[in-house]
Symmetry: C4
């Protein structure tokens, strides 16, 4: 019995294990789509019933998977407190908690169902590498994040000084200016806030010329460490 | 006769073949421009007559070219079901189909005329390389597309949670939030939807700092595989 | 006399030649600033008088420089029809032409004064290298420009098909859609035109995911050939 | 006594020195946050009292630190006129000056408190490297900044010529067009100004295709020199 389950839930080259892995991945995608459809307004009651049935079915299978994994694990506490053990628990917990909870906190609880997406990491080798690469480049990323945040803060204070008097509704405080700062320096530029004074525009001019190079660095580090992380993966297997 | 046509339609260094290739390319560009002009509103009836005449002329020549290519092909079924065989057929089919069809489906049919653009690939070596490079990097691109799509989905769910109550008309469901997600993470930032709550803005702040690096990867892979694809092309010939 | 002028206008290490070069550069910048100020509305008549005086002074010196260069050139026709010979002429011609011309064409003529900016290239070694690099990478740039233009055109036709019915005022024809196409694929995203139909948004989604990588290539080629062009310049001198 | 202070304020491996450095960094962050909160409108008087108390406390400590550093320096004038000496002075000066100054200039004076952020550079090795890298790449950056500025100016003049008549309120003069130019070429694209004439749009089309590659260079140089600057830092210590 234990061997049968072990063969089923732990990755190996047997046909049964591969089919089970594929089935779980299908359920993850299915439950994510179900989750998205549930957010649509004006759903018919029948549709809700179907969605709830799918959700319940997914949770049952995920619970079976979680319990099986604990059952077959050699070191049970180690699995329970491992990354995937916690993710597997978080994937089913919201469903069970929702019975004993009032409606208002339900929405946040439902969001937690999205942790199921992380269950996919188990089946995707590239994403494992990706996670490892992020951890490896962690130090460099944090360091440049600090420099980037300082630049964003500096830009926010500067624009606050120039624009606060002209547009007190948009640049009310440094915190409001930070929104302008991030939207501008990432070149998103929604157009909800922008400088209108001559001083503010000249300041934006120089901040953009210099700042884009600094904001681009964390982006570049993440990009290159991810690219490196995937390249060797094709050789290994 | 067959040899004459073979010399004409199949690429070789003879003057006649080169002139024919140039003529076909000219007709492709001409018919694409004709197509664009036809979309202009308030065209005079005379203009329409001229455009239709040009279109008919192009189709006659393309039909002659298609039939000739079948005629001179050693392995006729192989050509007919090859990439270029299908493209050549799709380039003329809409014209002939439009006679027996009611007006409402005409518009979609007309769009198919654009497949003529792909006929250009035959004459452009770099674009052949380009197509090959895309096929070669297919696996890597698909893999990162999945990670990118997961990030975009994750951002959409997050912003839905923060903004749905404040802006139910823009962030109606996760599907609507996906539009915000793609427009923001590619830094296009039209400004039709953007977060207005403090939570949504802080969420956007962090998603932008981290997400730009992830979205940049498929872009980078396509870019670099294309650049590689063209470099050797200059040496070969 | 000829030797004196040759020493003055032709670049060498003498103090006099360096001072003259610096003086000419100063006048170029001055006349560009003068040009910008002239575009300000509601200028006082006195200001206009001063600006015109500065302009006349610059033209006199530039004319003296141009005539001197012809005078000292060993091969006069070669200089006159060289890049810098033509630029030097274009820098002064608008001023002289403006006497015999009616007011309406004056505005375009005034724009030609901007060719003076190109006179700066003579004094800036990096910009010479830059110009050479652009010429060297010309073929590659043209090739990818064609692919980029095809993508932009393809995106324009696609969005026209999806959005024309819903927003006939913004996506009137393929030509209007091209404006959306370039603004979106370069991620500028002004927000004056954007898709509102579900089909158009899904189309934009995929065009952005794939298209950004293609549009980034000409940018990358120009960037890298420019960077290469400047690096050796520091060693040479 | 002098030795005691020297051990405290000058970086060494003693526990006391590390704690003092950490304490100063904490105060810098604290005073920056205090500064940001002060810009919030509608602050309660009690909050203001607390903020002022924190500010006064920070200034007292910073003054003690500054005086100690002068006291323990072997070459006192050298320290006072060094980069960090001036930064340390600027960090406390605004507070003392604010006593003898009327209210209207207070706002600018308060901004100067932000120089405290630069005090962090002393404690952050990566930022020291960063500063050195910027100085090393200074020449290249200036050179490409000139080319970039010329392109931005050229784009501004071009769009002024095309759009001035159609939108005199947005493209009033070349100076107003410069705002459009920087916002477009950095792909921020707020959407407050954009071309509406056919000529202006075609001009924007080509400026975007070519210009993005040029504007990307200073960004790339800053990015790469920063990345280089941090890499060796992990080896050194």
């Amino acid at each position: 019995m234990k061997n049968y389950l072990k063969n089923l839930v732990e990755p190996n080259n047997s046909k049964r294990s591969k089919r089970f892995a594929f089935f779980i991945q299908f359920l993850i995608i299915l439950s994510v789509i179900t989750f998205s459809i549930e957010t649509l307004p004006d759903l018919k009651p029948q549709t809700r019933v179907v969605l709830n049935a799918i959700e319940a079915f997914c949770v049952v299978i995920f619970t079976f998977e979680y319990v099986s994994r604990i059952f077959v694990a050699d070191n049970k506490p180690k699995f329970i407190f491992s990354f995937f053990g916690i993710i597997d628990l978080l994937a089913i917990l919201p469903f069970y908690l929702s019975f004993g909870i009032d409606l208002r906190s339900l929405r946040l609880l439902r969001m937690f169902r999205l942790f199921r997406l992380f269950k996919l990491v188990r089946y995707n080798k590239a994403m494992k590498h990706f996670a490892q690469a992020m951890i490896a480049a962690k130090e460099q990323i944090i360091l440049f994040m600090i420099i980037t945040l300082m630049l964003i803060y500096f830009a926010a204070v500067g624009i606050y000084y120039f624009e606060n008097e002209a547009q007190p509704e948009h640049f009310t405080s440094v915190f409001d200016s930070l929104w302008w700062s991030i939207v501008t320096l990432t070149t998103v530029g929604y157009g909800d806030v922008y400088p209108i004074t001559v001083g503010g525009r000249i300041f934006t001019f120089f901040i953009l010329l210099i700042g884009l190079g600094i904001v681009a660095i964390p982006t570049g580090i993440i990009s290159s460490s991810l690219t490196k992380a995937v390249e060797p993966s094709s050789e290994e297997e």
